[in-house]
């Protein structure tokens, strides 16, 4: 077991070291001592305030990565998480702001709306693929653009109807806001974060991760999903209906994507605004790659990205180019893909050797002939 975890960590650690090496070279080229930059990042990134901020940044990335990963597991590439979460957040805020009920119920209703809208938006791509054979990469990209335009129209024309400077939905009532978790820091004996509230949505993100893990690895549905991803022909023979599987997967992926914006909206902003945070959908793809679609791996990946985003702030203050962080992020994703492939091959060769050792004892080694 420990061995397996070791192998699983090998690739991302190698990739991270490689990325740090590349970034160090870049830093040296601009006459900055890399060690100094890294120690600044580390010192700043490990304060309580930073910890809360890092986790807050990691939450939407994590949820987004999970949404992407569920598609990856069956060989579908949902690039549309970006559009799905934005349009879901808009509708959730729009409808959620029109009424006020008991807090938990209010939050549940808003989350449900977000899940439904995200699922519908992704479901369009699923339907197109199933009925018309449209590649989901193409359709989800296009749906992103359509989504942005729809958001602009609804926000600008239907909700505001005027020309106010900041376009925003009506603010959500207090009952819709998820309380923060800063008390955890004091309960654990750390100093309380200042100016940042650890978002309560963290709990929901963890639940999403647990459900994802159980769904993919422990259920019959998850088995069908993974079988379809690994070998569509064999899945078909085994009785999996490929079209139904595509549709379900897109719906689930979109549903999870619908939750991506909720931590920000229900924890901080309290409304959907014109400048609602973007890019979570795309960064989520990188995090899913980094975490290899593994529930824990993606959490670590999201935290790493959160850490780097947060600690970039201190570099700026010390007049070290903060773009170095983006270099690390980019290189680590590229390197991790290569590193996984290498580690994978290595593991496979070992397995084949073990299997042939088991066979060697027999008089006739069974061998495959490809004539």
């Amino acid at each position: 077991m420990i061995r397996r975890i070791g192998i699983a960590l090998l690739a991302p650690v190698l990739a991270l070291l490689f990325a740090i090496a590349v970034a160090s070279i870049a830093l040296l080229l601009v006459d900055v001592n890399p060690l100094e930059a890294y120690s600044l990042m580390w010192d700043f990134g490990t304060t309580s305030t930073s910890a809360a901020s890092i986790i807050n940044r990691a939450i939407p990335l994590y949820v987004s990565a999970v949404a992407v990963a569920i598609g990856f597991k069956m060989g579908l590439f949902n690039i549309g998480v970006e559009g799905q979460y934005l349009i879901a957040a808009l509708f959730a805020a729009w409808i959620g702001s029109t009424f006020s009920v008991w807090g938990p119920l209010h939050i549940a209703i808003i989350l449900l709306i977000a899940i439904t809208v995200g699922a519908i938006w992704a479901g369009i791509a699923g339907l197109l693929k199933v009925t018309r054979g449209v590649n989901e990469v193409v359709s989800t990209i296009m749906l992103n653009y359509i989504g942005f335009a729809v958001i602009g129209y609804i926000l600008g024309e239907l909700i505001i109807g005027g020309d106010s400077l900041i376009q925003s939905t009506d603010p959500l009532p207090d009952s819709a806001m998820i309380p923060g978790l800063n008390w955890i820091f004091t309960a654990l004996g750390f100093t309380e974060p200042r100016g940042v509230e650890l978002q309560g949505f963290l709990v929901i993100a963890i639940v999403v991760g647990v459900i994802y893990h159980l769904l993919v690895w422990k259920t019959r549905f998850g088995f069908d999903l993974r079988a379809s991803g690994m070998n569509p022909g064999a899945a078909r023979m085994s009785g999996v209906n490929p079209k139904r599987m595509v549709l379900y997967t897109m719906l689930i992926s979109g549903g999870i994507a619908g939750l991506v914006g909720m931590s920000t909206m229900l924890g901080r902003l309290g409304a959907f605004t014109q400048d609602f945070p973007r890019q979570y959908g795309f960064t989520g793809i990188a995090v899913a790659l980094l975490g290899r679609n593994n529930a824990v791996g993606m959490a670590l990946g999201a935290l790493l990205f959160g850490f780097m985003d947060r600690s970039a702030l201190i570099l700026d203050l010390n007049s070290i180019p903060k773009e170095i962080v983006q270099i690390i992020q980019g290189v680590v994703v590229l390197a991790v893909v290569i590193a996984y492939e290498l580690v994978n091959r290595w593991v496979k060769t070992r397995e084949i050797k073990a299997a042939s050792d088991a066979t060697a004892s027999a008089a006739h080694a069974a061998e495959e002939v490809t004539a």
């Binding site: 549905f221 079988a227 064999a234 009785g239 299997a355 006739h364 069974a366 002939v369």
Partner: protein, 508 residues
Amino acid sequence: MAESNRAVELIDITKSFPGVLANDDVNLSVGVGEIHAIVGENGAGKSTLMKILYGMQPPDSGEIRINGAPAVMKTPKDAIERGIGMVHQHFMLADNLTVLENIVLGSEPTQGVTLDLGEARRRIHELGDQYGMELDPDKRVEYLTIGERQRVEIMKVLYRGARILILDEPTAVLVPQEVEELFSSLKELQAEGVTIIFISHKLDEVLAISDGITVMRGGKTVAAVKPEDVNAHDLAELMVGSELPTPATEASTVTDDVALSVTGLTSLGLGGRPVIEDITFDIHKGEIVGIAGVEGNGQAELVDALLGIRDVSAGSISLPAGPIDSLDTKARRGAGIGIIPEDRHRQGLLLDAPLWENSMLGHQGKKPFAKGPWIDRAGARDFTAEVVERFDVRTPSVDVSAAALSGGNQQKLIVGKEMLLDPDVLVAAHPTRGIDVGAQAAIWDELRDARRQGLAVLLISADLEELIGLSDKLLVLFDGRIVAELDPNDVTPKTLGSYMTGVKVDTP
């Protein structure tokens, strides 16, 4: 250098793969400007021979002479340099490039750093005139008919200066009219002194076009004949062999209970042409029905139709409990149909998944693999351990990935898990293809055992020994139809070969 009128001579070529002698003392002699056919069943060694001649695989021993000179070819590039070109059965063209671009692809004429398509265009016109092959160089390949695409492939080879053409089953994909066009092109090429070697199982075509015929069987070249000296029946007999394996002398276990009944099953392919047509048969409990036939005559489509993967346009499939036509694949498998798919890598296994997950495949949702919506990991692992034990799957554990096992052990896992779950009907497509003799014998024993216990088996195979050795009844499939029902006990090579190659057809 010795003068020779022999374009190609292969002398005592031997090539073995682990467990199989693919080419065994093969001899072939083809004169310059000759159209020479190589016929033989699937697995007779034709493809291996062609790969050796095209430098894709080196022979273990033996000599190759091209135009009289000994040739050692390590890669296709060596073969191309000696004027040998190959047209594969499955075309390798880029659909969204033009004919011209496809032809020059890989050997682009350049002027400095720019592409000199003018020169290429001129040469293609020249070649077209010389060999009488009409092609519009600026048309995109996606708009071409199959016959035209084949011409592009041939042109591509000629463009590289080939004087010896190898065609792998060139007529398999063509409609009759296109076959005629191809043959007239081949005649033109021949008139220009090009040597043509082509592989085929279609005996009437072989007799119509070739100047010489070499027959292969079981990795050996068994005869070299002239078309004027033989007829299709003789060739069929040569292909199948004069001695058929004897059926296992085992008491019939066929009962009167019908386990699977198929009536009038028809399914249409692209273009509305039936790929299987009016297929009717019953399999009884304790019976093995063998489907004989050259591959590509509807076997795969029949399996897909039985499993509900392919839409059928007419006909019905019934189990004792009733018709299953409206059931989806999962429900059909649940109703008791087991399947050993023909291609274990593409249809039978999740190579990257552990063995215990592989044994669930096709039975997900059933005991012992599931508890409600959850996977029963312990149950699945225990089951897999039992398969490994009973069917002698050589593996260090049930947790290694399927990719780590050898082909024979992968197949034993597939056969084992299907059999251990006690299906009522087993569809076994090429159950022992590409595996060593030991594993093959083990699988045959299991099939016989299960038959004794009342299993109904539909056995599809290209291996006559397997078909005749196991089946209680043989159906011959040709061009999507059942053209004969034969008794394996008194079938002769001549009749079997004639039916399989479409020389003879029983009209019902």
